[in-house]
Point group: C2
DNA sequence: CTGAAAGCGCTTACAG
DNA sequence: CTGAAAGCGCTTACAG
């Protein structure tokens, strides 16, 4: 493998010389081909092919003050990333949406303080044009604040608590979704409906609880609320606690599918039939929703659309527009658990 | 959110003016502080603090012809990434090793032809100084070839079939590990030992089979070999096939833990006791090895060390050294399945 | 130890 | 439509 003797790469100058035009013309060709004659175009194209020219992204970024790449910032740990399938779905959809517009994605995982410091440095240094902020938790107001202050556009996935007005964001309509699920549970004739709520430092966590509560109105019973952290284990723990506390429960709304799966497991262990004795509803429509027994009735989050809108918004803001906030509807998916 | 009016960032010139020194001195300070007097150092440090100066990585890269970042190239799909825990372990360990040396990691997933094309462009364009190639499969000789030809240093994880002599690499000693596991199974008194081998386009897959076979010598029976693709499902399928074909089997060596877990599941379903009637050995010592019932006896791959060595090697090659090939030993971990 | 100057490889008004 | 020239923000011999 040769390294030290890596041959010098061709530059626009080489291409220009080869094509018999100026560097400016080559550059124009490279940037859309406007204002370059058919002849020049052909000559440059041929010269590029012949020389094997590849653009130097650093030189270009230095000149344009643009990097043509954005960060996908996940303030979570490796464990959480591989545990919660929603992250993967967002990553893949975002990645696709970005590829379509030819901007590259830099994936940054910042679960520890040290990683967050590095992430901040990387981002505020100008490595990317903007950031897609994806995290379930409120996370690090400090990090967000610093990135924001450095003038780097941010679009959040979900309502960014504390930054609702400062950042652009796109979120599912958590409150409406929770109301709809709760109403559906009631329509089944259930009257003792419990909920396994999400984390309180998450807008999804609080809004789904708000929706649940407001739909129930006077029937709301604070004793029928347990909080989880969106993990399956927390769903099991919450379901157990709920059952021990009140044996009359006839339905449960879990704030995400992973916790619902945990609840289902506990119910199965205790020999409580679902949906006969207790109906269970989840949120997300994650892959696990079709794998549980019985399959999970849930509220589908439009992850693909969320990702597309995030990308569109971010690119808009990078382009100089003011950031917008977008709320997308969820959809009830009825399966067997309720 | 302000964007269009992003204030101009301070540059070395501003810092130099503020500190009352030349830009060269500021640059020297930024690059290790050699040949700068204590007074100048203090002045520059103060000026940086005061101006809030952040280095412009593109300008630096353009000048140095270095990016100070490397790619973690995974030629797999999203599904595989989230399915096979080995990737996550390598990512996290690599990421840590790189952070220690202050070089950033760009994670690239290239599972489809289109993604591979983009990956190639990105890499050969000069976005990174080198690449850590991580993939179970032989993958894309074309991609590797092009990156290699562009002069970008590559270190592979596992022996890169077809490029053993051209690229640097670090791999676990698959053959020796497989021999050791097989020998261990025999030491338990087992004589009808089957194997669920890995994919044939993987050096790990072939070498583990080679080790298994050579340890068995004349006792090797081609009927007791089934191939899987490292997924749990393939482990189940292989175990079923093996059992249907030969009921005298008293031990199984699976080429990775995921397939071993699949085998264990089938054995449990058929009511075959492990390890009493059939002993099962895996490979990797993945997290799943401690979660199966019974817990899995396996060969531990030194993922942390592999990652560290990959990073060390790559940085060496980037620094101009010739690439080396490193083979690391595996370790037998005895649990309950054998 | 330090400064002046050239150079890294692009892009972009500007004048034509 | 095209070229000459300045500029993006660093680093690095070189001379002192």
């Amino acid at each position: 493998m040769s390294t030290g003797d890596r041959p010098r790469r061709p530059t626009v100058s080489h291409v220009a010389a080869e094509a018999g035009v100026s560097r400016g013309t080559v550059s124009r060709y490279l940037n859309g081909g406007h204002w370059v004659s058919p002849e020049a175009e052909a000559a440059v194209a041929a010269a590029i092919r012949k020389t094997g020219y590849r653009i130097n992204p650093h030189a270009r970024s230095l000149a344009t003050q643009r990097t043509n790449s954005v960060a996908f910032l996940l303030t979570e740990t490796f464990e959480r990333l591989f545990e919660d399938p929603n992250f993967a779905r967002l990553m893949r959809a975002t990645s696709a949406a970005l590829a379509e517009r030819d901007v590259s994605l830099v994936f940054i995982l910042a679960g520890s303080p040290a990683e967050r410091r590095r992430a901040r440095d990387f981002i505020t240094q100008g490595h990317v044009d903007g950031v897609l902020l994806v995290s379930s938790h409120q996370g690090e107001p400090g990090l967000i604040e610093e990135i924001h202050r450095a003038g780097v556009p941010i679009i959040a996935c979900g309502v960014p608590l504390g930054f609702e007005r400062k950042l652009g964001w796109v979120a599912a309509d958590d409150e409406a979704g929770a109301r709809e699920m709760t109403a559906y549970l009631r329509s089944l004739g259930r009257s003792r409906i419990a909920t396994i709520a999400g984390p309180r430092d998450t807008s999804g966590g609080v809004q789904r609880l708000v929706g649940f509560r407001s739909e129930l109105g006077d029937d709301f019973d604070a004793d029928l609320v347990e909080h989880g952290d969106y993990s399956e284990a927390s769903g099991r723990a919450a379901m157990s606690a709920l059952l021990d506390r009140d044996p009359t429960i006839d339905a449960v709304f879990a704030a995400n599918d992973l916790m619902a799966a945990g609840a289902l497991a506990v119910l199965a262990e205790r020999g409580i039939s679902v949906p006969e004795r207790i109906a269970v509803g989840g949120f997300d429509d994650a892959a696990v929703a079709t794998e549980t027994r019985p399959a999970l009735t849930t509220m589908r989050q439009p992850f693909d659309r969320i990702s597309q809108e995030m990308v569109r918004l971010l690119l808009q803001v990078i382009g100089g527009e003011k950031p917008a906030a977008i709320t997308l509807p969820t959809e009830l998916v009825v399966r067997d658990s309720a």
